[in-house]
Symmetry: C2
Subunit: 363 residues, 2 copies
């Protein structure tokens, strides 16, 4: 079943098109957008071997001239050096203001391609074809683009909205199960912060930990409701002035865990799962949330095959310290997103260190 979600922004609106088999209609879907003929497709070898030729064929059938830039796979390559490679292909092929960069891949490829499109000739067209669950429900939507600095993630970037996000759920069939689960963490997040109905649907499913075991209607619903949640929040706060902060639910402790484990041992989604468990406990400690609802959240996280405990050996004092250097710190106060009921959260910087310490010790 195909669905379309509109992202309405002050300057620009665009569609998130969710359609099984949509990859083969990529060119067609772009044909209505008034784009120039030239397309630069950016991908990595893992994704390109599965889907590259189909994407290119579809673009060519629709009359686009396609060149591609295949970057090495992995967060380690989300760098200015990779960006330079995209620019090199752009200059060789004389990409113009009317040309389009298409990202075919997960969040890493999407973030880099978006930043290249934001900065080539001060901004050209950009289309997202996310191929991980995480990129479909999160990274591809909202216009945040960028690369890492050797000293920190996503420090260099720009806001640049895509002209289209095309989601073909069928490509998830080749996604490694661990990556699927990592994406599911963000889906559960939307249930807790925004959409109690999504939360209920996730509760009703017997399985959440592997795509093959899940009903296709549930996959549909997960994609549509998650994208809608992100689109709603982003439309209300494009440049992260306020509301958008709630998307960081689970990310405060999550980022500290990622950074202390060197970004290799724990996937981002796994760290967010741990962070949501911690945030739930903190909310209960502060009397903001019920024990019963936090347990329902944690049960979903477990059903999705995600971790609910701190990585073995994690230094708790170092974790508390790491919170201080997060981007979300304002005037020395750590900002937490905490649930008050399923579907509703509050942002607060009034969490005593002792509460954090006690909760982490208990995990």
């Amino acid at each position: 079943m195909a669905s379309t979600i509109k992202v309405n922004l002050p300057q620009q609106s665009y569609d998130i098109a969710i359609a099984p088999g949509g990859l083969d209609r990529l060119g067609e879907s772009m044909a209505g957008l008034k784009l120039g003929k030239k397309v630069l497709l950016v991908s990595n070898p893992t994704v390109f071997q599965h889907y590259g030729q189909r994407a290119i064929a579809s673009l060519q059938t629709a009359g686009f001239e396609v060149v591609s830039c295949i970057l090495p796979d992995g967060e380690n390559y989300k760098t200015l050096e990779s960006l330079q490679k995209i620019y090199d292909v752009a200059v060789e092929n004389r990409l113009e203001r009317s040309s389009t960069m298409v990202a075919l891949g997960g969040g890493v490829i999407g973030d880099m391609t978006g930043f290249a499109a934001a900065t080539w000739l001060r901004g050209i067209n950009f289309v997202q074809v996310p191929t991980t669950l995480l990129a479909m429900v999160d990274a591809a939507i909202g216009g945040k683009t960028g690369v890492n600095h050797p000293q920190g993630k996503n420090l260099i970037g720009a806001f640049h909205q895509p002209g289209l996000v095309l989601i073909d759920p069928e490509v998830l069939q080749t996604l490694p199960v661990r990556e699927f689960r990592a994406g599911m963490a963000e889906v559960i997040k939307y249930g807790v912060i925004w959409d109690a109905q999504l939360f209920a649907e996730l509760e009703a499913s017997q399985h959440l930990d592997a795509m093959g075991d899940m009903k296709s209607e549930l996959i549909d619903s997960i994609l549509v409701r998650s994208c809608q949640a992100k689109a709603d929040v982003v439309s209300k706060d494009e440049k992260e002035a306020g509301l958008r902060a709630i998307l960081n639910y689970g990310h405060t402790i999550g980022h500290a865990v990622e950074s202390l484990t060197g970004y290799t041992q724990v996937l981002h989604g796994e760290a967010v799962a741990i962070g949501m468990v911690a945030a739930g406990h903190i909310a209960v400690e502060l009397g903001m949330w019920t024990q019963q609802e936090t347990e329902r959240q944690n049960a979903l996280i477990e059903k999705a095959g995600l971790p609910t405990k701190l990585p073995v050996g994690l230094d708790i004092e170092a974790t508390i310290e790491a919170l201080q250097i997060d981007k979300k710190v304002k005037a020395g106060k750590v900002r937490f997103v905490l649930p008050t009921q399923i579907g509703v959260v509050k942002v607060t910087d009034q969490v005593p260190s002792d509460t954090i310490r006690q909760v982490l010790r208990g995990m």
Copy 2:
């Protein structure tokens, strides 16, 4: 005499403050802008030796914590590598969303610093302290920022508006005379495309080729009227959708001349001067402009010590070819800005190659 010009944009407005001795009040001028404490000052050794300590002292007196990044002097260093150096200093000193990058230098430093500010944490505050005439009347205003690709100028960039442009005309005293004249080309441009009164004031002055020989009221007027012209055009067309094209008067042929001479022999302003002479002749050929007015324009260009003839040995066919690969080409048609009377221009892509050839042969 101090003047302030407001640049009004849909999202944001800012001041261009023109004040002799203003450099020593930089910190004070920034104090009202609600900026964080941290400032990263970017400059080059040439400019920094003259003005760096005064800028820093003024910032510190106003309570800012200042770090600096001194990049090598020259267009050759307007690269992603230099940008990386700015990012390195930013990360070392933990620049935050509320922090500010200050560009102290000519257009090269301004463009790079602006791009770094546009992309650090997806955009932080930015203040321009232009120190060349060209940067004062042109590069520092309008929010175009960027760096060069080895294969082409300004191919990588972003729109990012400064929070303040502070112009201290006194710093022009150390500017090499050839650079002063190059800036004067853009001043004459504003007279031809926008401000007949400015044109008349330039005509009334005995000298235009060296700051020391010019009345300080004329310098004032040149700065105020040129900045006002650019601010007017930019306010009406922030993202270069239409009107802003008129700022490219003299730049069509100018860019071709720069590119064919390898960007070393001829300064940008000198190339623009040659381009304005060519555009004037073309306009006369097409019956759009009078011979008499084009001669008045050319007299100003000569009085400013700028070239009015093509560089010796320039290949005319190669020049015509180079027009085709300019950024201003749309669907294969070369776009020209042509005067119809002093203060008024028209944009057209209806210039026959033969007319261009004939005009260039005559120069």
